[in-house]
């Protein structure tokens, strides 16, 4: 019965499930030639391509501001990537600093901590990704179903507010609440009869969980906004059709809402995968203490600490570049995988 709904949906809005589908719109000549089974000469392909470009001049105009700005302020400065391969000193400038090749990368990899740095960074990032991913979707789906308008609005506003709390204050609050002597955690434990609760802030094993779940608490609401907006575009007649067919609320969510959100969700997941090495510095740094550094020392905090005593421009540039390369490779991989699975892809 639900296949009928899906089929009717596809007639109305063919893009809603597989955004990668859709006919490629080549020129009329090209189509005609293909139909006739002829092979086009190179010149004819070139001409038809130019025609298509010329016909869509408006689209290129729409692209222009973004392209110009990106070029001016992101591509031009890219010559600075060479800092990672030089021994940069301010007085010599970028041009005058000597080349050292991969020396800084070697310094980084020779560090005693490098293995734990990688493990810590990647595991924290993955944990964050996996834990943080479903909640915004879940929230959006739930809020979409709430009919009581006031309650819905209150819930929405309340869930996105924590996003605005600055990291410094957030960590400060965590330290106060999780204190075994005077915090919420301590008092709750005493309520349950545990007189001297263990200090979870000092437990290396708890670090990642505290970090990740406080992040989820803080950002799930804000991240759900985009899914709420996506759900707003669902044609209500679909719900009506589903009701007529006897679908309950669960089924509506399962067969209408979730597939509708899928393209957006996949794209966001791909982009998050491309950020895997970029675990935020500030929150980790503030949450570090000597009892958890074996888990909490990540690449970003390490680079920061090296740079405290001496300005290690080139070393931080090298590590940063390395991070970016890994991110990029991962993005390409995940993107490929997503294409293979027939879902949406980034490009």
């Amino acid at each position: 019965m639900f296949q009928a709904i899906i089929a009717s949906f596809q007639q109305k809005g063919p893009r809603l499930f597989h955004a990668a589908l859709g006919p490629k719109r080549k020129g009329a000549v090209h189509m005609a030639a293909k139909a006739a089974g002829e092979k086009l000469s190179k010149k004819e392909i070139l001409v038809s391509t130019w025609r298509r470009i010329a016909r869509n001049w408006g689209l290129y105009l729409l692209l222009l501001p973004a392209v110009v700005l990106l070029f001016m302020f992101t591509y031009i400065p890219m010559y600075g990537i060479q800092i990672a391969f030089k021994d940069f000193t301010p007085k010599a400038g970028i041009g005058g600093s000597p080349w050292v090749g991969f020396e800084h990368f070697q310094t980084f990899f020779n560090s005693f901590q490098v293995k734990s740095l990688f493990t810590n960074t990647i595991s924290l990032s993955l944990y964050s990704l996996i834990a943080g991913f479903p909640f915004p979707i879940f929230l959006a789906l739930a809020m979409n179903q709430i009919r009581v308008k006031r309650f819905k609005q209150t819930l929405q506003v309340a869930t996105y507010l924590p996003h605005f709390i600055s990291t410094v204050v957030m960590v400060g609050m965590l330290l106060v609440w999780l204190s075994p002597s005077s915090g919420l955690y301590g008092n709750l434990a005493k309520l349950f009869g545990v007189q001297e609760p263990p200090n979870i802030l000092g437990m290396a094993g708890a670090f990642q969980s505290i970090y990740v779940w406080s992040d989820v608490w803080q950002h799930a609401g804000w991240d759900s906004i985009i899914y709420i907006a996506a759900l707003a575009a669902v044609d209500p007649s679909l719900y009506e059709a589903a009701t007529v067919d006897g679908a309950g609320k669960w089924q509506k969510i399962k067969y209408i809402d979730i597939p509708f959100l899928l393209p957006t969700a996949v794209i966001l997941l791909i982009m998050r995968a491309g950020n895997i090495m970029n675990v935020g510095f500030e929150k980790v740094y503030l949450m570090q203490n000597p009892l958890n550094t074996m888990v909490s020392e990540i690449i970003a905090t390490y680079v920061y600490k090296i740079g405290i005593i001496s300005n290690q421009y080139s070393l931080s540039a090298a590590v940063g570049l390395f991070n970016n390369v890994i991110n990029f490779v991962l993005l390409l991989l995940v993107n490929q995988a997503s294409k293979k699975m027939g879902e949406t892809s980034l490009f």
Binding site: P65, Q113, S179, G202, N289, P290, L291, T293, I309, Y313
Partner: protein, 554 residues
């Protein structure tokens, strides 16, 4: 309606395009893509007339005949009001004819801005105050700064006299290449001892205990604090005999290990000096440190040391010390006891240094940091007339100006009598003097020197923070050990140090926290030392020895 909508958007789009192009061309190209900031700052310096020989006076006031403006970069705390409102600076400007154009940097993110500025921004004429540039910043960018030793000899009688009278001031700022790039300062009315131990006398009285004089007595007292109702509120469990914050680093705790025979240098380098031989010691690799850690492991295990010591931050440990209803903390170490322990400061008293297992009694102190500072005044190559800046600095280092720069202008914070006696005026209602001084003047920052004769004429109020500290210092200064001095490193040494110490310090901190909380130092010690050596500890100590030798020789 739709047409208008489209028109508006189209216009907006066009506007953006035009603006971005305009911004690109209109601003012009200062083609200094990799400059070292030499030409950059001249736009900020408005030289009135030709500030050449004709304008500049080698001696006397004013310094220049036609007004000249210099840009000073100063990292300013948010509570300090604009220095242009400071009457001392206003007087100085009138007297010297040199206007100071203050560029303030917020200290929150100064580190980021600093590297950018040094890498190619517009340099100010002078970096003012030791919180603007650190040793390493100066060391790795010597080309950006002007060597001033000749200017000192030629134009700066005050500074020269100060350096002659107290050679440490010259030593602190002489680099390995023999040049002087920054100026040092001597703060007036400073104590010799840094942080001193204190204990809750009321708790001792409540439990009929004697003031402890050795670490073992101290342990017994703390144990009693823990087990009995020391603060007298009926609850025997709410006392925290020893608290503090070890969350960021070891430097809160390192103050406690003096009884075992080592004191740190007050810098964050874990270095002490062997008192007899003068050799540098890496504290976390020393036997005495091991003993201290074992002692504290016992304290932690028995609940005497705050179980949250390693996870709470400074504000939380402060809050325990300053708890409103009843005092919660039994002992600690602080710069000045009464201000650290409000609102129950009447219960706490300074505790003379405890004697350790070998009878050592030490308190940490370092003249080179408490009294003398460096990097207070750095002239950059952007300054077209270093002689003007240096003469200004010399005038700033005169007795009167130095005193005013530390506490506040005459007439507002101080009063100078005809015979030269300096007395202090009351701060505004509701403020303490110490807090107020930080609001009106640059306090610690800037070159300074007050001659001993003038210092003797300053009458510090006994209840001010400075006064109380000095009074207290009388009892403690004899216990100050010789620290590892503030040496000067070469850029290569600093580079090596920074690379070696990242791994070493992390390992040290992790082991330290782990041993105190979980024990096991006996078994781990040998493996720990050999691991440290693998990380390059021996090489690190070599560097420190070299730097020390150079310092002692120079």
């Amino acid at each position: 309606m739709k047409r208008n909508w489209k028109k508006v958007l189209g216009l907006l789009l066009a506007l953006c395009l035009v603006t971005s192009l305009f911004a690109a061309c209109g601003g012009g190209t200062n083609s200094s893509t990799s400059s070292s900031g030499e030409s950059g700052a001249s736009s900020q310096q408005e030289s009135g007339a030709e500030a050449g020989d004709s304008n500049f006076n080698a001696t006397g006031l004013p310094i220049v005949n036609e007004p000249v403006s210099l840009t000073f970069l100063y990292v300013k705390g948010a509570s300090l009001r604009d220095l242009n409102e400071n009457s001392m600076f206003q007087e100085m400007e009138k007297a010297t004819n040199v206007r100071i154009d203050w560029q303030y940097a917020g200290d929150a993110d100064w580190a980021e801005q600093k590297s950018l500025l040094l890498a190619g921004g517009d340099l100010p004429d002078v970096f003012f105050g030791n919180n603007s540039l650190g040793d390493m910043d100066i060391l790795t960018n010597l080309d950006l700064f002007v060597p001033v030793e000749d200017y000192i000899d030629q134009y700066c009688p005050n500074i020269k006299a100060a350096y002659d009278a107290e050679p440490i001031m010259r030593k602190l700022v002489t680099q390995s290449d023999g040049h002087i790039y920054t100026l040092s300062s001597k703060l007036p009315m400073r104590p010799k001892a840094c942080d001193i131990p204190f204990i809750n006398q009321k708790w001792l009285d409540n439990l009929n205990l004697e003031m402890p004089t050795t670490v073992d007595e101290w342990y017994n007292v703390l144990k009693a604090f823990k087990e009995q109702d020391a603060n007298g509120n009926g609850d025997p469990n709410d006392e925290v005999p020893l608290s503090g914050s070890g969350k960021g680093d070891m430097f809160d705790w390192i103050r406690y290990i003096n009884p075992w025979g080592i004191t740190d240098s007050l810098e964050t380098n874990y270095l002490a000096l062997e008192q007899e031989t003068g050799e540098p010691i890496f504290i976390p690799a020393d036997e005495r440190y091991k003993e201290a850690v074992q002692f504290f492991e016992k304290l932690y295990a028995e609940g005497i040391m705050d179980q949250e010591y390693f996870t709470q931050d400074g504000s939380q440990s402060d809050a325990k010390l300053k708890n409103e209803e009843v005092s919660l903390v039994g002992t600690g170490i602080a710069w000045e006891v009464s201000s650290a322990t409000t609102p129950h400061s009447d219960e706490y008293v300074p505790m003379l240094p405890l004697a350790g297992p070998r009878g050592d009694r030490y308190v940490r102190g370092n003249d080179g940091i408490i009294i003398y500072r460096r990097n207070e005044f750095t002239v950059t190559t952007a300054c077209e007339h270093p002689e003007i800046a240096m003469r200004w600095a010399d005038y700033y280092s005169s007795d009167d100006i130095s005193i005013q720069s530390y506490w506040g202008p005459f007439g507002e914070a101080l009063e100078k009598a005809d015979d030269g006696t300096i007395t202090f005026l009351d701060p505004p209602e509701g403020k303490t003097g110490d807090v107020w001084y930080w609001e009106i003047t640059c306090r610690d920052y800037g070159p300074k020197y007050v001659s001993p004769e003038t210092e003797a004429k300053i009458q510090l109020p006994a209840d001010s923070g400075d006064g109380a500290k000095l009074a207290c210092d009388e009892d403690f200064k004899e216990f100050v050990a010789q620290p590892y001095p503030q040496v000067n490193y070469t850029p290569e040494q600093m580079d090596e140090i920074s690379k070696l110490t990242v791994d070493i310090y992390k390992y040290v901190k992790e082991s330290w926290a782990n041993w105190i909380v979980n024990g096991g130092i006996e078994n781990d010690w040998d493996g720990y030392i050999s691991q440290l050596n693998q990380m390059g500890l021996e090489r690190l100590m070599e560097i420190y020895q070299e730097a020390l030798d150079a310092y002692n020789a120079g």
